[in-house]
């Protein structure tokens, strides 16, 4: 087959060749890869995401690194095979493949996940491009949206997200090939599936003409990419609705909007810079007299950590103030706390009010 070599395969070969050459010169080879952490990203306000800086770590082959070194190379070899045969392996499957490597096998999946992430960062691509996919689904979608996908034989499929009844469309692990048709006015990304269910049940998407997406905690890469693609292609605003706690702000919203440290090399595509935070803000807790829970020790720590170390929070004074307020109030509130004012309060009063008043949002 006169197929041009996949750039990933070329890159894997280049790295391997470099190592080989060095070994044959009897010099200790090393592998370089970007450091994947918040220390090595900056918040690029103009483009709206965490951009990878150029700090790299170098894994030199020594007695204490040889095991990981061998595993990294074997994983690269597996990746090359997958890409060449146009196959994929889930992260879990890759972990099980390693069981065939004798002494070099992984003992736990987190080990193989880390090596996988390293290779991904080294190649500067998304892990789907090196043949690995996660197990978890991207999230649930309901509302005025038709997703255009293909079946096994490549036949065009139109999936109408209004036709799932009380269920919902599930975002696949790879979304690059999808396209959309919609007349919705905005996307509402929701932290908890509980709140998603409530809004879905009351046909909020119909009343407000929107697309509801349940993130189920920190949004997966697929979920982030899906929202980004949909928002970009259909030019839709994205509103984010989480619990009023540091985890909702700093982990869920922040990761959706600007990406994460761990996946810094791919943040450019796996973030939603147009996302806006509509609630629940610390001010909402006061304004809506919401029932609260006291902040736990981990919450307090998380607030401090966000203010001190998170480039996104550091960039936005409004976020720092909000977090400071929460620290002073010493309480947090869940999305469902709005039910205090009636089960439909959230769809009939809270969301419409918030949507109208930009001043109550956070950046």
């Amino acid at each position: 087959m006169a197929k041009t070599e996949n750039p990933v395969v070329g890159k894997i070969k280049d790295v391997a060749q470099g190592i080989y050459d060095k070994i044959r010169k009897v010099k200790a080879p090393d592998i370089e890869m970007p450091i994947r952490s918040l220390n090595n990203v900056e918040y690029n306000a103009k483009e709206g995401y965490f951009k990878l800086l150029n700090k790299v770590k170098s894994r030199t082959l020594t007695a204490s690194t040889i095991r990981t070194f061998a595993q990294t190379l074997r994983m690269m070899s597996l990746s090359k095979d997958l890409v060449e045969t146009d196959d994929i392996a889930t992260k879990r499957e890759a972990y099980y493949v390693s069981k065939n490597w004798g002494e070099a096998r992984f003992r736990e999946q987190p080990e193989s996940d880390t090596v996988m992430d390293d290779i991904e960062a080294m190649m500067g691509v998304n892990r789907e491009q090196i043949g690995f996919i996660p197990e978890e689904k991207g999230g649930a979608v309901a509302g005025e949206l038709i997703v255009i996908d293909k079946d096994d034989e490549g036949k065009r499929l139109e999936i109408d997200c209004t036709k799932f009844g009380s269920g919902a469309y599930s975002i696949p692990s790879s979304v690059e090939e999808l396209s959309f048709k919609t007349k919705a006015k905005f996307i509402l990304a929701i932290e908890t599936s509980g709140m998603f269910e409530r809004l879905h049940k009351h046909n909020y998407w119909k009343d407000a003409s929107c697309i509801l997406i349940s993130m189920g905690g920190v949004p997966t890469r697929a979920c982030r990419r899906f929202i980004r693609k949909l928002a970009d292609e259909k030019n839709l605003p994205v509103y984010v609705f989480t619990d009023g706690d540091p985890y909702g702000f700093g982990s869920i919203y922040r990761t959706l909007k600007v990406g994460s440290g761990n996946a810094a090399h791919i943040n450019e595509f796996f973030c939603v810079p147009q996302a806006q935070f509509i609630g629940i803000t610390p001010q909402d807790i006061i304004d809506y007299k919401l029932p609260t829970h006291p902040l736990k020790e981990v919450d307090v720590k998380k607030i401090k950590d966000l203010i001190k170390n998170d480039p996104f929070i550091i960039h936005h004074k409004a976020w720092q103030d909000a977090l400071q307020d929460m620290a002073k109030m010493k309480v947090r509130a869940e999305q469902q706390a709005l039910a205090k004012h009636g089960l439909n309060f959230v769809s009939e009063k809270y969301l419409p009010d918030k949507m109208k008043n930009r001043k109550t949002w956070l950046p």
Partner: protein
């Protein structure tokens, strides 16, 4: 009921002779069970033999023989090449309790009280009714005296049953003791075998020939041809004298003035110090000692404590020396590490003493359970009452965890280790007449602890080194384990052949070995080890004395090898430091290792 008068009752009270007392209380002397009795009898006879030889400056050769006469009856024969004993003294030395040459003087001999051997006689007589047979010859050409002796317990005096002169053919001089007694012979710990072996370890200048009841002869040949320095006798130091003793000394002294009394009866008291003592006691130096009343003696006693007197001389005691102690350990134990330390002399109650300690770690020793302790006092092994001994409590209260051994609070450390402690002094304080445990004088416990700390520090550096070596060995194993995987993966990705793959593996081995330097090895490296010797007294048996310090719970030794999971240290390449070349290459069981030049 008929009342009794005080007069009637008084008729029943009478003097108790010391012999009668010990007849009833033989356990105080260690004769509490047949097995131990056999050991104690041998010990007393051997102690006396060694003391006699050393006093006469003769290299000792002691022959010990145990003959089983009946199920539970043994004949003990101990013969030495000492100076012999003149006929007139034989009965008193062997058949009168509390008769001896060593009680009234201060020197580091084994015996001190003049009880031991007579007690053995007493025990034999008590259990078999037979007299002991003593033969002694003082010089070549002279006749030997043979006496059959019993002890008259009501008067604590010797009964000579029979006496004759004999030719002791082939013997220049020496003494032979034969006692029949009830006993029980079991090999293993706390046996005669173990006692003689340990005695041989700390008396390398003596030869022992031992024939056990199974008619096996074991010879412990002397290792050095030099006698230890003579045990010098010293006068008591004023600080160590109690009021009662001081009063008796004042009564019996030949000195005509207090000044003279102080300068002649004590060590370290010159005319100046004597005057000072008198001044501090508000007594006149020219007082007659015999005229000093109890009250005045008390103020003299207080005055002594108030006066600054220099410590007693220490040349009167001689240590085994750390080198000899270590040599003994090497002979006995196949370990990976040995060390020993001799402390400078200390003083308790005016008596100078020296503590020595040594240890053997690792090797073929039992890794589970508490360490083994070997205790010695004036070159005599202490086999019983370990729990009551100051040595044991000093070991228990030392923080062995700092030195690489497991230990729960205030108990014996655990692990593959043997600790030896020797105390030598002009007067060793025992907790009882059976001389099995050292008394807890704070000065002594402190010195023992200091000695233990010295050897502990050496142990710690070895344990650390061994751990480093273990880690290194694991890393080396790692290299071998993972090199093929690196090569295999490169082969898969680049697509080269098996020959190139082999080259990659070889190059990788060179790269990684190069950065690690040469291998060092630790292991058992002990040409002095004597396997036959080590077995003596080590046989398993269930009858060990249950020591009273509840060291029963066995703790599993913590595995200090962490799982290799943690092995990926950060990618800082710190393990590529310069390495030193190796040194040791000998020994039987070795762990490969390298010296990484750190630490």
């Amino acid at each position: 009921m008929e009342q009794r008068t005080a007069e009637e009752l008084a008729k029943k009270a009478r003097d108790i002779s010391i012999s009668e007392f010990f007849e009833k209380n033989r356990h105080l002397l260690g004769f509490d069970n047949p097995r131990k009795a056999l050991l104690i009898a041998v010990k007393e006879a051997v102690d006396n033999a060694l003391d006699a030889c050393e006093e006469a400056r003769i290299l000792p050769e002691v022959n010990v023989e145990l003959i089983q006469l009946e199920e539970s009856r043994f004949r003990m024969v101990v013969e030495d090449n000492g100076p012999g004993i003149i006929k007139a003294q034989i009965p008193k030395i062997f058949a009168k309790l509390l008769y001896g040459s060593k009680f009234h003087k201060l020197s580091s001999t084994r015996g001190q009280q003049g009880i031991g051997i007579s007690a053995a006689l007493l025990y034999g007589q008590l259990t078999t009714g037979k007299p002991a047979i003593i033969t002694s010859k003082t010089a070549n050409g002279k006749k030997a005296n043979l006496l059959k002796l019993k002890i008259n317990t009501s008067t604590n005096s010797p009964d000579i049953i029979h006496e004759e002169e004999t030719d002791w053919e082939g013997k220049e001089h020496g003494t032979r003791i034969e006692i029949d007694m009830e006993g029980n012979y079991i090999k293993g710990r706390q046996s005669v075998d173990e006692y003689l072996k340990e005695t041989a370890i700390v008396n390398p200048h003596a030869t022992f020939i031992y024939t056990n009841p199974e008619a096996e002869q074991i010879i412990f040949p002397r290792a050095v041809e030099v006698l230890p320095p003579e045990a010098k006798e010293i006068m008591p130091h004023p600080y160590g004298v109690e009021l009662g003793r001081l009063m008796r000394m004042l009564e019996t002294t030949a000195a005509s003035t207090l000044q003279q009394f102080l300068t002649t009866e004590f060590v370290r008291v010159g005319p100046g110090t004597a005057k000072e003592i008198c001044a501090n006691s508000s007594l006149l130096p020219n007082m007659k000692p015999k005229n000093i009343s109890r009250e005045l003696a008390e103020s003299l006693h207080k005055g002594i404590q108030k006066t600054k007197i220099i410590a007693p001389p220490t040349d009167c005691i001689s240590p085994i020396t750390d080198a000899q102690l270590e040599k003994g350990l090497r002979k006995e134990i196949n370990a990976e590490f040995y060390c020993a330390s001799t402390r400078p002399p200390g003083v308790y109650r005016g008596n100078p003493f020296i503590i020595e300690a040594g240890l053997a770690y690792g090797g073929e020793q039992e890794a589970e359970g508490p360490i083994r302790i070997m205790r010695f006092a004036n070159r005599v092994p202490l086999l019983y009452q370990q729990g009551a001994c100051a040595i044991t409590s000093a070991i228990q209260s030392t923080m062995w965890r700092n030195y690489g051994l497991q230990q729960s609070k205030n108990s014996l450390p655990m692990g593959p280790c043997t600790i030896v402690v020797h105390m030598t002094s002009v007067w060793v304080p025992f907790t009882s007449e059976s001389k099995e445990a050292l008394a807890h004088y704070p000065e002594i416990v402190k010195e023992i602890k200091l000695a233990l700390q010295e050897i502990g520090r050496k142990l710690a550096s070895f344990v650390n080194k061994k751990r480093r070596i273990g880690e290194e060995a694991k890393k080396r194993g790692y290299i071998e384990k993972y090199i093929p995987h690196v090569a295999e993966a490169l082969k898969d990705i680049i697509g080269f052949d098996e020959i190139q793959k082999k080259k990659v593996e070889d190059d990788l081995a060179v790269i990684l070995e190069h950065t690690r330097g040469e291998l060092e090895q630790v292991g058992i490296d002990n040409p002095d080890y004597d396997e036959e010797f080590a077995k003596i007294g080590q046989e398993e048996n269930g009858e060990e004395e249950a020591d009273d310090f509840g060291e029963t719970k066995k703790k599993k030794r913590k595995d200090d090898d962490s799982d290799e999971d943690n092995d990926e240290s950060d990618d800082d390449g710190s393990d590529e430091d310069e390495e030193k070349p190796s040194k040791k290459r000998k020994g039987t069981k070795q762990t490969k290792l390298m010296d990484d030049g750190e630490d």
